[in-house]
């Protein structure tokens, strides 16, 4: 009995590994499958929203070309630009808000600290779009619901509430020893200098995470953009544009362009991620040694 066990240990591990890898491969395939399909569809030469074959019969890049040239009905380049501008601005603003709030709550002690955290927790339980109608009327009262100010309105919408989402960043700051801060204080640093020159460089993974989420939020948002843009087509974001491509009147001729648009909007996020990815890894290495 025992002999058999010893003899098969290697083999058993191999069998185990095979099973694990095969199931992982299947899962990975299932997961990547829809994305591959969208990419394939974006290169499909046959028109229409429905095709009887799974793989496209002919390939073309016309769908991409059309997105950028056929701009009289759905102006994709403009929407892309709008979204990029809004997303970058709100990304910068909300990253700052989140990190600053988290830092304060982690390092400073003040009377409202606990109540603020409780309030943020409770408010965080509500979906953001619950306040949508109120937000719309407030923006309208401020005169931000018409013309170019719509962009400002959207930036405010996306970044204004960011300070409530401090929890993860605060958790991270809590792990950086307070001793470092104290040492810096003794050396004459101000709170701001500690935050900017010591804590932030030590928290690169957190900063990266915050930047990514802060960028993706406005980049993919549909509901606020739809409510605030209304009939101002010049300020539409890509989410609205893509949604419009699937309406009854457009779906047949725009479906493949829709897939192309879907592929394109993933590019900025991918670039941002690839650029920031390395900081995920080396954020803490060798820095905190007290």
């Amino acid at each position: 009995m025992e002999d058999v066990k010893y003899g098969s240990a290697k083999r058993r591990r191999m069998i185990n590994d095979t099973i694990v890898h095969v199931s992982l491969a299947i899962l990975a395939f299932i997961w990547v499958f829809p994305i591959i399909w969208v990419v394939l569809t974006s290169f499909r030469a046959e028109k229409g929203s429905y095709v009887s074959t799974f793989l496209p019969q002919n390939y073309t890049i016309d769908n991409y070309v059309r997105l950028f040239t056929d701009t009289t009905i759905l102006n994709f380049p403009k929407m892309f630009g709008n979204t990029l501008f809004i997303a970058i601005c709100s990304c910068i603003l909300s990253t700052f808000y989140v990190l600053a709030t988290a830092y304060c709550l982690s390092r400073l002690r003040f009377k409202l600290r606990k109540p603020y955290m409780n309030m943020a927790m409770v408010l965080g339980l509500f979906p953001g779009f619950m306040s949508m109608v109120a937000v719309y009327f407030i923006l309208k009262a401020l005169g931000l619901s018409e013309g170019g100010l719509i962009r400002l309105a959207l930036i405010l919408c996306y970044s204004g509430g960011a300070g409530l989402g401090f929890q993860i960043a605060k958790g991270f700051f809590d792990t950086i020893p307070v001793a470092i801060d104290e040492a810096a204080l003794i050396d004459g640093c101000t709170r701001w200098q500690i935050f900017w020159k010591i804590s932030l460089p030590l928290s690169k993974p957190m900063v990266v995470y915050t930047v990514l989420t802060a960028f993706i939020g406005p980049w993919v948002d549909f509901i606020f953009a739809k409510v605030i843009c209304r009939a101002n087509a010049d300020y539409y974001t890509v989410a609205i544009g893509l949604w419009r491509m699937l309406e009854k009147e457009y779906i047949d001729s725009w479906y493949t362009c829709f897939a192309a648009g879907a592929v394109l909007i993933s590019i900025p996020i991918a670039i941002l991620f690839m650029f920031l990815q390395r900081y995920y890894v080396d954020g803490m290495s060798g820095a905190v040694k007290g």
Binding site: E46, Y50, K140, A141, R230, S253
Partner: protein, 412 residues
């Protein structure tokens, strides 16, 4: 530190105040002969695109020329007929003065008190230039709420090389000759069979208390017919664009849809494209006519508009024969003006004939009473049930009764 903060806050707040006032500044000062007005107009993006001739801008400019008493500053926005009403209802005050909407959204507009009523000479003009059915599609409680500019319904597109003029009169004959695709699981289309056999919705579509009558033997017969239809190998369900794809690869010879797909179908079938109003179907040996839901698209005026007279005049102009003709020439929007329909150049168009034949002969006015909103899901479920074979000849009677019950209840 504190002082700085205070100064900053005050500055911010005063900025906000100025911003708030700024948006309300209106230049509506009259100076004797010409009046400066600002009119916001919403239309679908095709009406404004250069590729399709900028119908909206051309019409608005022509209107301004006809009315020298106004000095109009036009502001254009994009809202298609299907969604404009909801967007206007969301906040009428900062919405367009003149917009285009589909008549099934009239209740939404009315509930938000956002649609202006047309009366007097304006109402008379609409009545004089349109058929009674289409005017009624924009009436509610006796008031008229817009100027119709086209009808909105579905009909049949077919391949002339497969079906003859004689074949297309009956669905069952067509199924012997070729493959027919029908949006079986879409509740805008499926009721056509039930209505064809005498089922009614809110009597003539306006009496909410009367409820829906999709029950009894007449409805059971239709359900049984549909089960057989589904089993026919030449019948294909059209869902998610599969009918159009079938036309493209030649596996389908006829589909049911509306003018929005006409251009694509023309591209596929070319000269073989045939368009016709709905066929009959043979139920227990008797021929029954299918009836589509029909509605209209109209130009509405915002009830909160600051320049009511000018807005109404513009709406009337955008719905006039002249504007409709331009709309037809630029974008193939089927006109509904009675005078234009008698015009030979327009009456000769297959699409116009089919759409108007359908509207006049083989359709019922799509009810826009509030209770209509309960009628969509049960019919859709019936279609899906038949497709999935969970509705069979055995339980057809109970299932039909269940559909009728669900249509008559608000789900509470």
């Amino acid at each position: 530190m504190k002082k700085k903060f205070l100064v900053l806050m005050t500055l911010l707040m005063s900025l906000c105040l100025i911003g708030g006032c700024g948006s309300q500044g209106q230049s509506a000062s009259g100076n004797g002969e010409t009046e400066d007005i600002r009119l916001m107009v919403w239309a679908p993006s095709e009406d404004q695109s250069k590729d399709s001739g900028e119908w909206l801008r051309k019409c608005c400019e022509a209107f301004a020329k006809e009315h020298p008493e106004y000095n109009i500053h036009f502001v254009y926005g994009v809202a298609d007929e299907a969604t404009a009403a909801t967007t206007v209802a969301q906040d009428p005050e900062s919405s367009a003065d003149v917009f285009m909407y589909a008549n099934d959204n009239l209740t939404v507009l009315k509930d938000a008190k956002a649609a202006a009523k047309f009366g007097g000479i304006y109402e008379q003009e609409v009545i004089d230039t349109n058929s009674e059915t289409i005017v009624n599609s924009l009436r509610s409680d006796g008031y008229l709420y817009g100027v119709p500019f086209t009808t909105n319904t579905w009909y049949m597109f077919y391949d002339k090389s497969v079906f003859s003029e004689e074949d297309i009169k009956n669905l069952d004959t067509m199924l012997e000759r070729g493959v027919v695709s029908f949006p079986f699981t879409n509740s805008w289309y499926l009721p056509a069979f039930y209505v064809g056999n005498g089922c009614t919705l809110f009597e003539d579509g306006t009496v909410e208390e009367a409820g829906v009558d999709f029950a009894g033997e007449k409805a059971d017969d239709v359900t049984n017919y549909l089960i057989d239809l589904m089993a026919n190998p030449n019948f294909v369900v059209d869902a998610d664009g599969s009918g159009m794809a079938g036309l493209r690869d030649g596996s389908v010879n006829a589909i049911f849809t509306g003018s929005w797909d006409a251009a694509s179908i023309k591209e596929i079938l070319g000269d073989n494209m045939g368009v016709a109003s709905l066929p009959c179907y043979t139920l227990n040996g008797e021929e029954k006519q299918m009836y589509a839901y029909a509605g209209s698209k109209a130009i509405g005026v915002n009830a909160t508009s600051d320049n009511m007279v000018a807005s109404i005049q513009l709406a009337i102009y955008l719905g006039s024969a002249e504007a409709q003709r331009l709309h037809y020439e630029l974008r193939n929007v089927v006109p509904c003006n009675t005078e234009l329909l008698n015009d030979e150049s327009i009456a000769g168009d297959m699409l116009v004939t089919a759409q108007n034949d359908t509207f006049n002969n083989t359709s019922i006015l799509q009810p826009f009473v509030s209770a209509m909103s309960n009628c969509w899901t049960p019919v859709e479920n019936m279609g899906k049930g038949i497709r999935n074979k969970s509705v069979t000849h055995k339980n057809a009677k109970e299932q039909t009764q269940a559909m009728n019950d669900a249509m008559n209840s608000n789900g509470l």
